[in-house]
Symmetry: C2
Subunit: 208 residues, 2 copies
C-alpha cells in the first residue's frame, strides 16, 4: 500500500475494494485491515461506511461535472469521441457506483438526488449535441421527440454499458471502454447524413 495521509489511503483502498467486491461485501473492518490501521483509527477519520461512500461520490461528481459540460457550438466527431472516452474512463474508475446503482441510491437518499442530476446532465448534453448537429444539417430526425429518445438512450448507455459488458464477459475486458464509445457512436450514426455518417461508422469500427 502506497504511503500518503491516512484519509486518502482509506479512500483509495475503499475505492479499489468497492469496485472489485461490491459495496455490500466490504466492511469498515476489511478496509482498516487493507490499509493496515486499527478500526478505531478508521473511525477517527470516517463516521461509517456511508461517509466513505459519500466522500468517494464527491470526488466522482466533481470530476464528472469537469468532464461533461454542455457544448454551445457544434463539436466535430473526433471531439465527441474524445469526450465519450473521458466519460467512460471516469465511469470505469468509479464503477462501484454504477454496478450497485439501484441499491446504492435506495440506501443513501442524498446520493439518489445527486445521481439524478448527473443523469439529467448526460441527457441534456446529448440533446444539445444532437440539436447542434441537426441545426448544422449533419443530423436528420423525422420528429423532434426522436432527439429526446436518442439522448435518453445515450444517457442510459453511458450509465449501464460497462455493467452490461461486465456481466457478458467471463473475464475483465480491457477494451470495454473503447467498445462503449463505439456503441454510443453507433446510436447516433443512423441519424447522420453522409459523409458524416460514413466517417462516424469508420471511427466506431476501429473501436469495436
Amino acid at each position: 500500500m502506497a504511503r500518503g495521509n491516512t484519509p486518502q489511503r482509506i479512500l483509495a483502498a475503499s475505492l479499489t475494494m468497492f469496485n472489485e467486491e461490491g459495496v455490500a461485501e466490504v466492511s469498515t473492518n476489511h478496509i482498516a485491515d487493507e490499509v493496515d490501521i486499527s478500526p478505531g483509527n478508521l473511525y477517527y477519520h470516517f463516521r461509517n461506511k456511508e461517509q466513505i461512500i459519500e466522500r468517494l461520490f464527491d470526488d466522482f461528481e466533481a470530476k464528472f461535472y469537469d468532464t461533461l459540460t454542455v457544448p454551445n457550438e457544434t463539436p466535430d466527431i473526433e471531439q465527441i469521441w474524445l469526450f465519450l472516452h473521458l466519460m467512460f474512463e471516469l465511469i470505469n474508475e468509479y464503477r462501484f457506483i454504477y454496478q450497485d446503482l439501484v441499491f446504492l441510491v435506495s440506501r443513501q437518499r442524498s446520493l439518489a438526488r445527486r445521481f439524478r442530476r448527473i443523469i439529467g446532465r448526460k441527457v441534456e448534453a446529448g440533446m444539445a449535441i444532437c440539436r447542434l448537429l441537426t441545426a448544422d444539417g449533419i443530423m436528420q430526425v423525422s420528429h423532434a421527440d426522436e432527439i429526446d429518445t436518442l439522448a435518453q438512450q445515450i444517457a442510459m448507455t453511458a450509465t449501464f454499458w460497462l455493467s452490461f459488458a461486465h456481466v457478458r464477459s467471463e473475464k475483465p475486458d480491457p477494451s470495454a471502454t473503447a467498445r462503449s464509445v463505439a456503441q454510443v457512436l453507433m446510436l447516433v450514426a443512423p441519424h447522420l447524413i453522409d459523409p458524416a455518417r460514413d466517417h462516424l461508422l469508420a471511427l466506431a469500427r476501429e473501436y469495436r
Copy 2:
C-alpha cells in the same frame, strides 16, 4: 400473507422483499419473520439465502425461455410490441435480478453463466428479427455490423432500462414497462423504411 405450502410462501415473500429492498439487505431471518415461521423451519426447506435466490432464478429462467423464442418468420410491428411488453413485465416481476445484477452474478458463478445465456438469447432474437425485417425490405442498414450493434443495444436496453427508470424517478412509475417498450421500438425506428417507420413511431408515441 396468503396460505399455501411453506416453500412457495417462502419464495413469494423472498421475491417481494428482494425486489423492494435488494438481496444484500434481506436475511433469511427477515424472510422467516415475514412468512411467520421459525428460522429452523426455513432452513428445513432451503439450505441458505443463495438457494432461495437460485430457486427464484430457476422460475425466472423458465418463464424467460417460454416468452423469448427466436422467430423464423417476420413478425409484424404489433407482434414485436406484444412480445417486448411480455418481456418487460417478466423483468419487472423479477427485478431484483436486474437491479443487483453485477454483484449477484459475481457472488453466484452458476447464475453468471445462466444469465450470459439469457443475454445471448436476447441478442440472438434481436438479430433474427432485424435480419428478417431487412430481408423483407422493411428495414435498411448500411452495413451488416449495424444489425449486430443494434441487437446488442436492444439487449442492453431490455436488461437495464427498468433500472434506469427506477434511478431516474423519485417514485415508482406505473408506466415504466410501456415506456421501456417504446424506448426499444424507437431504437429500431431509424432503420425502418416508410410506411413501417411512421407506423412504428406512432405506436411508440402512444406508449411514452
